[in-house]
C-alpha cells in the first residue's frame, strides 16, 4: 500500500479515536454540563445526613446546581459538615434553606436548596445556616409506633374513667 494512503487512514483512525474520547467526555460524561474550575464551595451542617454520599447532586428547583464533594463529622458541633461544590452560574441568597431529600421512594439522596429573600449572596466558603436533616425511616416508624402506643393507652384510660 502507498505510504500516503496509509498515513491518511492512520490519521483518520486517530481523529476518530480522539473524537470518540471527546464525545464520551462531553456528551456521556458531565464535563460539558458542569465545570469544576468555575465553581465555589459552600458548607452546610446537618444533624443527620441519612444516606447522602460524596458526588451526590445539589439541586434547586430540581436543577442540578452543584455536587457534594466532602462529608466530614464535625467535632465542634457534633454533626455532619457537608461541603458542596456549586456552579458559578448559580448564586444563592444568604438565608437559603438546605435540606436532604430523596428522589422518589427508593432513589438516591441529594441536597435540595430553597432560596430565601436576603439581598446578600452566599460567597465561596460560606456556611448555609438553615439546614434540615434527612428523614430517617427508623425514627419515623419509631415515632409513629410511640404515638400509636400513647394513643392506645389514652384510650384505655378513658375507658377506665367511664367504667
Amino acid at each position: 500500500m502507498q505510504r500516503a494512503t496509509m498515513d491518511l487512514w492512520v490519521g483518520l483512525f486517530v481523529i476518530a479515536g480522539v473524537g470518540a474520547l471527546l464525545i464520551l467526555a462531553l456528551k456521556v460524561g458531565n464535563l460539558g454540563t458542569y465545570n469544576e474550575a468555575k465553581s465555589y464551595t459552600l458548607v452546610g451542617n446537618f444533624e443527620n445526613i441519612g444516606g447522602l454520599k460524596i458526588r451526590a447532586p445539589v439541586k434547586s428547583a430540581g436543577v442540578v446546581v452543584g455536587r457534594v464533594t466532602d462529608i466530614q463529622f464535625s467535632m465542634k458541633s457534633f454533626d455532619a459538615a457537608v461541603t458542596m461544590n456549586m456552579d458559578n452560574r448559580y448564586q444563592f441568597p444568604k438565608d437559603t434553606f438546605a435540606s436532604i431529600l430523596t428522589s422518589g421512594l427508593l432513589g438516591e439522596q441529594y441536597v435540595g436548596l430553597a432560596a430565601g429573600g436576603d439581598e446578600g449572596m452566599l460567597k465561596s466558603g460560606d456556611k448555609i445556616m438553615k439546614t434540615n436533616s434527612a428523614l430517617v425511616l427508623e425514627d419515623m416508624i419509631g415515632r409513629f409506633l410511640f404515638d400509636k402506643a400513647s394513643e392506645n393507652s389514652d384510650g384505655d384510660g378513658e375507658d377506665d374513667s367511664r367504667l
Binding site: 500500500m1 505510504r3 496509509m6 498515513d7 487512514w9 492512520v10 483518520l12 483512525f13 486517530v14 476518530a16 479515536g17 480522539v18 470518540a20 474520547l21 464525545i23 464520551l24 467526555a25 456528551k27 456521556v28 460524561g29 458531565n30 464535563l31 460539558g32 454540563t33 454520599k53 460524596i54 458526588r55 447532586p57 442540578v64
Partner: protein, 265 residues
C-alpha cells in the same frame, strides 16, 4: 510405583521452574523493548505503518461489536428497569457499564484476538524464516526495528479503540432505547450525564485501557519473538497469545477495579 511418583513430581518441578524462567525472560525482553524504543519513536513512520495494521484494521470489528453490545445492553436494561418504572435510567446503565467495564475489557479481548494474534504470527514467521537473524547480520537490531514499533502502535491504538467501542455502544443503546422503544430522549441523556463522572468513570476507564494495551502488546511481541521457529511453533505461539492475553486482561481488570471503584459512589 514410587519411581512413577518421583517422575511425576519431577515433572511438576520442571514446569514450575520453566514457567518462572519464561516469566523472567519475558520481563527482560519487555525492558529491552522499552530501552530500544527511542530509535523507533524517532523514526515515527515505522509506528504509523504498524498503527495501520493494529489500529485501522481492528477498527471495523471494534465499531460493529461496540454497536451490538450497546444495543443488547439497551434492550436487556430496558426489560429489567421498566419493571421498576425506571426505564429512563437505561442511559445511565448503558453508559456506566460500557465506560467502566465492558468498553475496556471487550475492546481489549477483541484487540488481543485481532491484532495481538497478528503481531505474534508476523514476528513468529519472521523468526521461522530467519528474517530476524538476517537483520542481525546486517547490524539492524530486530528488537528496535521490528518489536518496538509494533509495541508502541498497540499501546497507542488500544485506548483509542476502546473509546470508539464505548461511544458506539452508547450510540447503540440510544438507538434501541430511544429510537426503537421510545424512552424519553431528554431524560435518557440528562440522567446519563448526571451519573457519569468524567474524572471518576471515564478517566479510570482510559487508565484501564492503557494498562490492557501495554499488557496485550507485550505478550504478543514476546510470544512472537520466543516462538519455536517452525510452522507448529508459530501456531502454538499465536494460540498462547490469545489465551494468555484474555486471562491477563480479566485478572488485571479485577485488580484495577478493586483499586479504582472500591467503596466510592
Amino acid at each position: 510405583m514410587p519411581r512413577r511418583i518421583v517422575i511425576g513430581i519431577q515433572g511438576v518441578g520442571h514446569r514450575v521452574i520453566d514457567s518462572v524462567w519464561r516469566l523472567g525472560y519475558a520481563a527482560r525482553f519487555f525492558t529491552l523493548t522499552l530501552l530500544k524504543s527511542g530509535a523507533s519513536i524517532r523514526r515515527f513512520s515505522l509506528i504509523i505503518r504498524e498503527l495501520y495494521f493494529t489500529g485501522v484494521l481492528t477498527m471495523v470489528i471494534i465499531l460493529v461489536s461496540g454497536l451490538f453490545v450497546g444495543m443488547v445492553l439497551g434492550l436487556q436494561g430496558y426489560e429489567t428497569l421498566q419493571k421498576y418504572g425506571a426505564e429512563t435510567a437505561v442511559g445511565t446503565l448503558v453508559a456506566l457499564s460500557l465506560v467502566r467495564e465492558l468498553g475496556p475489557v471487550v475492546a481489549a479481548l477483541l484487540f488481543a484476538s485481532r491484532a495481538g494474534s497478528a503481531i505474534t504470527a508476523e514476528i513468529g514467521l519472521m523468526k521461522a524464516t530467519e528474517q530476524l537473524e538476517a537483520m542481525g547480520m546486517m547490524a539492524v537490531d530486530p528488537v528496535a526495528r521490528v518489536v518496538a514499533p509494533r509495541f508502541w502502535a498497540g499501546v497507542i491504538s488500544m485506548p483509542l479503540l476502546a473509546a470508539m467501542f464505548s461511544t458506539m455502544g452508547v450510540f447503540g443503546g440510544y438507538l434501541v432505547a430511544v429510537v426503537l422503544i421510545g424512552v424519553d430522549e431528554g431524560s435518557f441523556w440528562s440522567q446519563m450525564q448526571s451519573m457519569v463522572d468524567f474524572r471518576f468513570d471515564i478517566v479510570n476507564g482510559i487508565i484501564k485501557t492503557c494498562v490492557f494495551g501495554v499488557a496485550i502488546t507485550a505478550i504478543a511481541v514476546f510470544e512472537g519473538y520466543d516462538a519455536q521457529p517452525t510452522a507448529e511453533g508459530v501456531s502454538g505461539a499465536t494460540t498462547r497469545t490469545v489465551v494468555t492475553s484474555a486471562l491477563v486482561i480479566l485478572g488485571l481488570d479485577f485488580v484495577l477495579t478493586a483499586f479504582m471503584f472500591r467503596g466510592v459512589g
